[in-house]
Symmetry: C2
Subunit: 413 residues, 2 copies
């Protein structure tokens, strides 16, 4: 029953995991439309200027700016309308001094013109002449060639996770295939002699498996590809066999341990003997989730998560989800702050031990423009505390608790 | 060129759309593991108690609480160890007064016992006797039968969107199939004579299609099922034909309009003639995105989005995304506040007109525990303003701008 605990702080555990990750990830090419949420393995450079020509941002008249200097409502500048810049077409001809072309929003500026006067500031005198009531500066109402992105400029950096707007940026530069990190495969094993498949009716003493389902959902939601390996009894040989298969077929394996000390001992023994380099920590200074284990087996990561569903999910959130989403943990304190970006007033006192990072589930609500976080408390084995919450708050390691009325940092989910 | 604008506020536009949505959504049954992110069409009730038995939350000794009253380190209560409650098994026997059973975390409490003493507060005298150093109250260290959820209790309400932890709750009550709203199909049409497929090399005056890709990503990210109908030129008959097909094959259709007044006129004419009941608004008091149109054609929703990518995405965020994610808009001011839950200090003055809701993209960063929002400004046709931002902030309709140093509400993305 004795265990050699190697307890790290959360930051130390993260650093230890990162030290084993390969510096460069392998990429696969996918069509642009399938790349949403994936991370780029290499930076994308623009090949052409975007836009590839000077483009009007308004409906109006393309002019040589200096032809409009001094124009006013009382003394308009009069210009000859000598053409029309049609959208999607190359202008046939040029705007000579004293001339103007009608131009639609988005159309290419004809050569000779360097600005556009909005139609609102013009008056049609006859079909060939307009008066301009207001001067424009060169470049006014124009997006210049390459103003959005210029050829050779980096459009998106390596490691960037592709959002909807990034699909637009990439399509604008003609990128229809991108090299992204392949989706991380995550094997999920539940252990515990008391667990049964949710399809079955529990006999007295039995409990339906919960952690497999929570972790399956959490892996999917974080952009990983989950695979369930079912429920393994608290038996060394059986667990070892299933773990070996899961490690072979996945990049990361999660074992959510049995809840009793005996079951945890078996699970840890299996983790400890799974291969080299082996266990990098056993225990982290967080609550809930202290008995978490982390190991590296070859190039695969292995986590022994707590048996309590709420604890397992907190540890997943802080140790596994960032790897699936970003391939790394926040690198700086500034980045970390964006993990818990919502400030809310806590509605009751909460205790914490100095040197320990405490996480607790909260129900965030808004009242007269102010956000309040009500801790959803309850025994740690309960599931309904998880489903009643809509956020996770934390007390930093340096603090010994918070008092009602203090502001806490929250991540909504 | 004349248009009959029917300009609504954002709240009025949302209310108008909601008034046309069916009160009850149709559901489809899906396996539990495929239901992540879907919304329940009917509430889920628990059939059994969870847990189905009194369960120990610690490793220790199951006792009759009153046998421990008065126990202390100097005067322990001595009890006979008459059995062991194994995890996953029904205890064979009962704890009689003066007796105790060893019990593992998660195991079923034997009849007769009503509390558990943690192993830390016991001492083994011999193989049949232990001393107890601290009293326990009835129910201590026990999750009672039905304490998590009791039979007949509502586990999750209709309309609830399933999160990872909800999969755990549902598996705990043996629900392995759920009835959820089928995924909303969204057809996407780009219009504009200047647009070409991103695979092609643009001729002078041509621009690669951006909106199709941004909207495809935005629909996917919001839980909808996007389908592209390509680029349609600014031609009434062609647009009408493609729109009719898209309306037939989808629940919602998005047309992102040409950017010039002429192109917008064609698009609006097609929307206006698409069917009954027809256009419900044309223009909303928001910036960017004023020229947005909304129509109902039979039971389908049709949105005419602005041509500028950044404007189209803002309007998607505030009018379309909530429907895909939640089937509705936030119903109360309190719910609305959670749409923009992050408070950040704006780093420069921004103007706004009273009565108009202004949205602007920001780059949020953290500095010494405080979040700052730097507006990412630029001409409205640019795409890189979208990709440089990591958040959307807003100025409420009642305000005429914000000054540097004021706090604004932000949604991170």
């Amino acid at each position: 029953m004795t265990e050699l605990f190697k307890v790290l702080t959360l930051a130390e555990a993260r650093a230890a995991i990162m030290s084993y990750l390969p510096a460069k990830e392998t990429g696969v090419k996918v069509p642009l439309l399938e790349s949403l949420g994936c991370r780029l393995t290499v930076a994308v450079q623009a090949v052409d200027d975007v836009p590839a020509f000077n483009r009007s941002t308004v409906d109006g008249y393309a002019v040589t700016a200096k032809d409009t200097y001094g124009a006013s409502e009382s003394i308009p500048s009069y210009l000859d309308v000598s053409g029309e810049a049609l959208i999607g077409r190359e202008p046939a001809g040029r705007v000579e001094p004293g001339q103007t072309w009608y131009i639609a929003t988005g159309a290419m500026l004809p050569p000779g013109a360097d600005a556009v006067v909005m139609v609102e500031y013009t008056e049609e005198l006859d079909s060939r002449t307009i008066g301009i009531n207001r001067p424009v500066a060169p470049g006014e109402n124009v997006i210049r060639r390459g103003e959005d992105i210029s050829a050779g400029e980096m459009a998106l950096p390596a490691g960037h996770r592709i959002r909807p707007q990034d699909l637009g940026l990439l399509s604008s530069i003609g990128v229809t295939e991108v090299e992204v990190t392949r989706i991380t495969k995550v094997g999920i094993i539940s252990t515990g002699d008391e667990l049964i498949n949710p399809l079955e009716q529990p006999a007295p003493g039995e409990i339906r498996d919960i952690n497999s389902y929570i972790l399956y959902g959490a892996v999917s939601a974080s952009g990983g590809q989950p695979r369930l390996y079912g429920i393994v009894p608290d038996n060394y040989d059986q667990m070892r066999e299933v773990l070996a298969l899961a490690l072979e077929e996945n990049d990361i394996v999660l074992i959510s341990g049995g809840s009793s000390v005996g079951a945890r001992d078996v699970t840890f023994k299996v983790i400890n003997n799974a291969g080299k380099p082996g266990v990098i920590f056993h225990g982290i200074a967080v609550k809930p989730g202290k008995p978490t284990a982390g190991a590296v087996i070859g190039s695969k990561l292995l986590f022994g998560l707590p048996g309590h569903p709420a604890s397992a999910l907190v540890i997943f959130d802080v140790l596994v989800a960032p790897l699936l989403r970003d391939g790394a943990y926040p690198a700086t304190e500034e980045e970390s702050a964006l993990e818990f970006p919502v400030k809310a007033i806590i509605t009751r006192n909460l205790h914490s031990a100095a040197g320990r990072r405490d996480f607790f589930r909260v129900k965030v609500s808004s009242k007269e423009g102010q956000l309040f976080a009500e801790p959803v408390l309850g025994k740690s084995g309960l599931i309904n505390t998880m489903t009643k919450a809509n956020g996770l708050a934390h007390i930093p390691a340096g603090k010994e608790g918070v008092e009602a009325g203090e502001t806490v940092d929250v991540k909504l989910f």
